[in-house]
Subunit: 251 residues, 2 copies
């Protein structure tokens, strides 16, 4: 049976994110991609290159969600331990995947051939299938509802592209936005009361500071078109009654 809502967890793996050396771009790109698949990103954990920390995060988020994604730690070096951690979390062995090995052999044929480090990238938790990587040799790995992807954002983007349309999603989450030079602190009660009066709708308030003035965009989200429209109409009424001008679609 088709569920109404599907959720995913994301584990971002890498000391370089936690040290501040690398600015993560995968959270935003995975989040945006999941929206299009009608899957909600429910939680993200950023963990260091430490087996037990990865195992703990993977097990917690896969228990709570329909899908799990990881980014990082699938390269050729000693600090790339995602495959080992996921195998441990699932209680399976790590094997050399014959197709991954063949892909890497072809990819490195004119680059000095396979070596111990490069062969690490053919290792998968037993039962895993490959996620194509058009950018560089090493594939991602899909095992059940887990998806292990690269850390380098443009390689991850290619892997997400390869997964597009392959995961079952729920009802689309619809959204409408209005915005204006409205301080959110002047309409907080309106936002709360309108949200409370409309079931299955959430109102998000996103303040900004622009052209020397404060303003906000208000986003109403729902899987129910009629509920969304009614909630948005009530919100606009409320803003009007307080004398605020606003623009549909946000500013």
């Amino acid at each position: 049976m088709n569920k109404r809502i599907y959720t995913a967890g994301l584990v971002v793996i890498g000391d370089e994110i936690l040290s501040g050396r690398t600015h993560d771009k995968n959270i935003a790109q995975v989040a945006s991609w999941l929206q299009v698949q009608n899957i909600r990103l429910a939680e993200v954990r950023v963990v260091p290159d430490v087996i037990d920390k990865i195992v703990e995060a993977v097990n917690a988020l896969r228990a709570d969600n329909d899908y799990l994604f990881t980014t990082g730690g699938i390269g050729p070096t000693h600090d790339d331990i995602t495959v080992d951690a996921v195998a441990k979390a699932l209680g399976v062995e790590v094997i050399i995947h014959p197709e991954a090995r063949a892909i890497l052999e072809r990819y490195y044929a004119d680059k000095g051939g396979l070596n111990e480090g490069r062969l690490r990238m053919a290792r998968v938790p037993e039962g895993g299938e490959l996620i194509p990587n058009r950018m560089s040799g090493a594939p991602g790995i899909r095992i059940g509802n887990l998806h292990l992807m690269a850390g380098v954002p443009h390689i991850t983007a290619g892997m997400l592209d390869a997964l597009t349309g392959t995961l079952e999603g729920g009802d689309p989450l619809l959204s409408e936005t209005v915005g204006g030079f409205i301080p959110e602190s002047e309409v907080a009660v309106t936002l709360r009361d309108v949200e409370k009066a409309h079931e299955n709708c959430q109102i998000g308030s996103y303040p900004f500071f622009r052209e020397g003035k404060v303003g906000s965009n208000f986003v109403v989200r729902s899987t129910d078109r009629a509920a969304l429209d009614a909630c948005m109409a009530a919100l606009c009424d409320g803003l009007e009654q307080q004398g605020f001008a606003f623009t549909h679609g946000g500013i």
Copy 2:
């Protein structure tokens, strides 16, 4: 007694990060700031605007670390529930902080005065002190080793600035970098063996693609200067033996 290593956890709160609408900038800025305080960011969790999810993340990360930081959810609207969640996690009441109320009264004196939404920003878990906010009215909150900060990155930056030098840190984590047009997959064994031979040192490998060529920067980290220098010397020897050119400081 001064500990060798202090760690922190970070909870990033907000549906807008999980929906992909807003690209988080606080993980990188908190991570970089903590490095300078000689505190290691050990884990980050990004959670939605849901009380129980925030409580769970706050309790897990404060149990595991010396310090906890949160960003987001301390504004005036109905979806700003960080204070309530942290009070619940700590088992204390939410009170109106008299100094916060006075700050907000002054700040809004020429902007229509306090109202219900604005007064929300004076609420703190009982026992909390204020973290100054020079950018806008609403202060951050420090309660024990917990620090509740804004979601808007430039406001968070001001709050971090106000906290600079107030937290006890451990031994500084030293680092040295070498880099070159070296495919990490060709030196993976060298990296692993050198790291294994040098206790208290970690080697991170950060590949890149530039000017049509692949390369890597290798970062050696340690709190022990002598160990770091020995490890770096061994790494450079290893790279040289493989015939690679590299630049100190990275490229």
